[in-house]
Symmetry: C2
Subunit: 332 residues, 2 copies
């Protein structure tokens, strides 16, 4: 086997609209990638088949087959049972949230060991290991997209609590505040989640408030206000988009500062679809919105944009594959 083949690992980022695959070499460099749409039907089986096909396509880029990999990791939405390799409650995947035996199915199709964890968790971990927070001792990852996800790394280790830590989106920023998509009131996500922002925009639009958001959406042949649509509307200073983003950033500042006051992490990384799309100038605005709420305001954490961009999730998933040599099966 050639040196480059000797230690290749695969990573798969499973989203509601697309699957991103990467292959990393032994130095954790991306040596191949592939992207396919997430199937709209076919249930859990269809999802697993699409994951395997995307992985195979990426592997072809370096002339190997999935079975040559040391393993493959998957970052998935939903509630993850990492040990059993099962995903449940992922409503934006085919099957409507029914449990999917992800790692067993993938291992069978790809012929290599499979590992799984939450998509935000692996994305935050990738930024810690290879991205914007490499020198951090402790990190709060803020994944700003449809929702607001969070990941906590303390002294180099992922903090999971009893399995459900990191729900930054459901930190309360306003007692008695807006209804969140989770049904609760006053959550950060109720103000800053792209899903909640879209609901609010539709509501205001119906009531006669002017905006170009939905015109841009239609022009692009979309049915949802994706990150690029918000970015475009903001570039044109669309009043509703500006107001909703202002409100989101105010809430992000409060929610993230709260987490920093509690944990005093050395770094915050802003990632996720909307975070990555809006980029550095909005990270700066979040940093400024945090400042008045920081208890130790002369020693704020570093607040940086995620550095791995769209591939971060897949790279983080690849890092789930345990490092080290393959197990010896020969007897002494």
């Amino acid at each position: 086997m050639s040196p480059t083949r000797r230690r290749l690992v695969g990573g798969l980022d499973l989203g509601g609209t697309k699957i991103q695959a990467v292959v990393l070499d032994g130095r954790r460099h991306v040596v191949a990638e592939a992207k396919r749409p997430t199937p709209a039907r076919g249930g859990g089986k269809g999802v697993v088949e699409a994951l395997a096909a995307t992985l195979t396509e990426a592997c072809a880029g370096v002339g190997v087959e999935p079975r040559h990999l040391a393993g493959v990791g998957v970052g998935s939405p939903g509630a993850i049972d990492s040990r059993r390799g099962v995903v449940s409650g992922a409503r934006n995947l085919p099957g409507g949230g029914a449990p999917i035996r992800m790692t067993a199915g993938l291992k069978k199709l790809a012929g290599t060991p499979a590992y799984i964890d939450n998509d935000v968790t692996v994305g935050v971990h990738a930024e810690y290991v290879l991205g914007a927070a490499q020198s951090a001792r402790s990190l709060l990852g803020v994944w700003w997209g449809t929702g607001v996800g969070g990941g906590v790394i303390l002294d180099g280790k992922k903090w999971e609590g009893r399995g459900a830590a990191g729900e930054l989106g459901h930190v309360v920023v306003k007692v008695g505040g807006a209804r969140c998509t989770c049904g609760r009131f006053g959550c950060l996500e109720a103000y800053a989640g792209r899903g909640a922002m879209e609901l609010r925009a539709r509501h205001l639009h119906k009531r006669g408030h002017k905006t170009d958001l939905f015109k841009i959406m239609e022009k692009r042949g979309r049915t949802r206000l994706q990150s690029g649509i918000w970015a475009r509307a903001l570039d044109h200073e669309d009043r509703m988009a500006v107001e909703l983003i202002d409100r989101a950033i105010e809430a992000m500042g409060a929610g993230i500062a709260s987490a920093v006051n509690l944990l005093d992490v050395s770094s915050v990384v802003i990632g996720g679809g909307l975070g990555t799309r809006l980029g550095e100038s909005y990270v700066k605005r979040i940093r400024e919105a945090m400042q008045p709420h920081l208890f130790v305001d002369d020693n704020p954490p570093v607040v940086a944009l995620a550095a791995l961009g769209d591939l971060g999730g897949a790279i983080g998933a690849a890092l789930l594959v345990p490092s080290g040599r393959p197990r010896r099966t020969t007897k002494r």
Copy 2:
């Protein structure tokens, strides 16, 4: 030396109004205690002398002198430099917040090694080791008094971040909300801190709102609304006291639930002057106020009242003394 003497440690809880001392035996049982008022003058020197005198008084209860102790720990308000043993910014101590070289002074007067940490940190640690959270894997301690202090223990270890973690009182519960005694807006402490509640009560009272809070205060010869005064007014269903406590509990529910959503700790302990004084029925109300904000609402953490009561701080301070045998000084 008798068996009980062999491993005795001292603990001192330094408050704005009183100093509490304990002596613990090798099984960490309280074998003696003493209490003295915190001196109103004499600067840092006066404070250190009063600490030594209170310790000496407690030691006398078991027939030893401070120099016989394996060491003494101090829990102090203010910003603590544990390594150098210096307290600064403790405005409710004589000297108005000027740095106090606490451990060096105490070691000299008491003749035994001295250790120091934050008063809330040691109180939370005591509950973890000997109190209400002994079976917890991870703990959020909520010290409800003049302010709202917090302490975080994760996987058995105190989490301090870069030295300033645990500022639960300055988690934002209401963007654009009430001004906090720290000068920021919307902090939990702005609603739930006894200091902020007193300011609000005085403000409302001046504007003609009726309350018995200040009558009870005067009757008791006090100048501040201490915890017992609030408890008394609540017993009599004083309307202003009830409304301000309702508001405090709503904010506590949101702020603590936010921390739980982020960290998914297995236990929460409610302590501090007001928490301890109001007791179990108010812990129950805090538990209920958290519930609508918990993201994983079918698996709430245990929320318990601090079990060590008034002595918790001094006991926790005593636990700062490193365990194990005294260092050998004999040559091999």
